[in-house]
């Protein structure tokens, strides 16, 4: 189109000048959107402040070392003891176990989805994984309670199947969707040339996947692992239904209580120092999660480089 054909009528002679009220309206909208923008920051700050304010007093009263490293949790005894070591260790062991089972399974499934399956089977499997991510945690807990707990009890000849092992099994299943989806992204991001070079050198397809693609995607897969850790350590309801919920030091076939379930199980009836100690447990859990988030961020940043 030639520029001469544009009618000159539409070009305004006066400089553009919006009316006053429109300008004020724009300013107001700008402020409104900015407020919305920073509301997430506000929420994080408020959550942190509330957790610290309500969590610190009990730690002060009990003493930090006794609180963190005490091995006995007896809040209702004559001389109450508030040691949360059993919860911390149970959470750590439970998470570790879940990662040990869930991550290899998840990575292999991600390999299947990205490299091996055809479109139709792959679509079906990834639909299944998506559905798995959406199933409420109480449903996992219920199935664990009815299926896994009795199976564990009978197969290992235990008086009660609600123990750390059952919790690990349930958690391993629950972290699968996040592990799979993040590893999938990581595997897809590996440049095609890497694989082509490996294939051209005579490696088989499977060798290429395991010796070239997975090592090249390792920081993304690490992110998947860290995300899985976050999911497992934060899960409350499902764990509560299958772990037996007694404040023991963790044993693989012993009834245990996680950090999350310690908060959830006593909150409804506790009072006084016991209640405050629960807030302190939440604070400890929050610090765990923040550290995991930090690691996750570092891993992702390194991957981007």
């Amino acid at each position: 189109m030639k520029s001469e054909t544009i009618p000159a009528v539409h070009i305004q002679q006066k400089p553009l000048r919006r009316n006053f009220s429109a300008e004020i309206f724009e300013k107001i909208m700008r402020v409104l959107f900015s407020v919305c923008g920073f509301i997430a920051v506000g929420f994080v700050v408020v959550i942190t402040i509330f957790l610290i304010i309500s969590g610190v007093p009990a730690i002060k009263e009990i003493g930090l070392t006794e609180f963190l490293f005490g091995t006995k949790w007896l809040p209702t005894a004559d001389t109450p003891k508030y040691g949360i070591m059993p919860f911390v260790l149970s959470s750590v062991y439970g998470t570790f176990g879940a990662i040990l089972i869930g991550v290899p399974l998840g990575i292999l499934c991600a390999v299947f989805l990205t490299k091996i399956s055809g479109k139709r089977i792959g679509g079906a499997v990834s639909g299944a994984v998506n559905l798995m991510a959406g199933i409420p945690s109480v449903v996992y807990g219920l199935v664990g309670m009815i299926v896994i707990v009795p199976t564990v009890r009978e197969n290992f000849g235990l008086p009660d199947g609600a123990n750390l092992f059952s919790a690990i099994l349930v958690l391993a299943v629950m972290i699968l969707p996040s592990v799979i989806s993040v590893s999938e992204t990581a595997l897809n991001a590996v440049p095609k040339e890497f694989e082509e070079a490996s294939l051209a050198l005579g490696a088989t397809k499977t060798e290429t996947i395991f010796k070239v693609t997975i090592p090249a995607a390792k920081s993304g897969i690490l992110a998947a692992v860290v995300l899985g850790v976050g999911r497992a350590i934060g899960e409350a309801m499902a764990v509560m239904m299958v772990s037996g919920n007694v404040a023991n030091m963790p044993k693989i076939f012993g009834s245990v209580r996680f950090l999350t379930t310690a908060v959830a199980s006593e909150m409804s009836y506790s009072s006084g120092l016991q209640r405050q100690a629960l807030f302190s447990i939440a604070l400890v859990l929050f610090i765990f999660i923040m550290v995991i988030n930090l690691v996750l961020n570092l891993v992702i940043k390194r991957e981007k480089k």
Partner: protein, 288 residues
Amino acid sequence: MNENISCARKIKDSILKSLVWFSAAIICLLLAGMICFILVKGLGHISWKFLSSKTSLLNGTVGILPNLLNTLYIIIITLLIVLPLGVGSAVYLNEYAKNKKAVRLIELATETLAGIPSIIYGLVGMLIFVQFCSLGTSLVAGAFTLVIMTLPTIIRTTQESLKTVPDSYREGSLGLGAGKSYMIRTAVLPSAIDGIVTGCILSVGRIVGESAALLFTAGMANEILNPAQAVSKGGAGSTLTVSMYMYAKERGDFDTAFAIAAILLILTLLLNISAKSAAKLLKRGDNK
């Protein structure tokens, strides 16, 4: 070519390959088995009476109407609040913010919120809304808690969708003399509707499945509330998931628990399908 490969390599190769197939199969079998198990155990107990009445210890009947209603109320209240906030936040990040550090800070905060476990939300919701704001244990307090929880989802999906809106839309709108907010309202947001709707559906999924955050904020009552009671201060009640937990763990009534689990499963399936089809249907350019 394959004949040149040594036997050991061939064996290793096929072992690894079968491991991959095995893990995919085991995950599918696990899910299929779980779904069948729940449906078989649960569907038999679902009847019209079960869905349309409340549990009465006097008559010995079990019904989940109050829990269904509570779930619906919480979804509506939460979405009404979180939608403007989340969409506004995404608009700010994508259209207004020029300071890179501010954007990074907000994104960091959003990621942090997404990573906080629901039990901590429950606790903080109890501290802030139930006690500090003295709303009492109520659906409103529960909904407010879920607002914080679902905010990252809405922000993320909306923002991703906003990023794909071509700049020519914005330039065209501004060139026609529209103000910035008018441009956002009429040109940018309608083009990002797919992300907003997907975000809503995902949030509904999270709300339906949430239990730990609601246990101490929305309460465990099983009474039928009308909409006015639902938004009032003392309107406490349990959603489907919370009531399922109570039936299974506290009362040992597994038939009812499985019936609710079946309903939850069907809801999850429907939400999954609708999230997928919404993203497809509403995507720009598909209706050309």
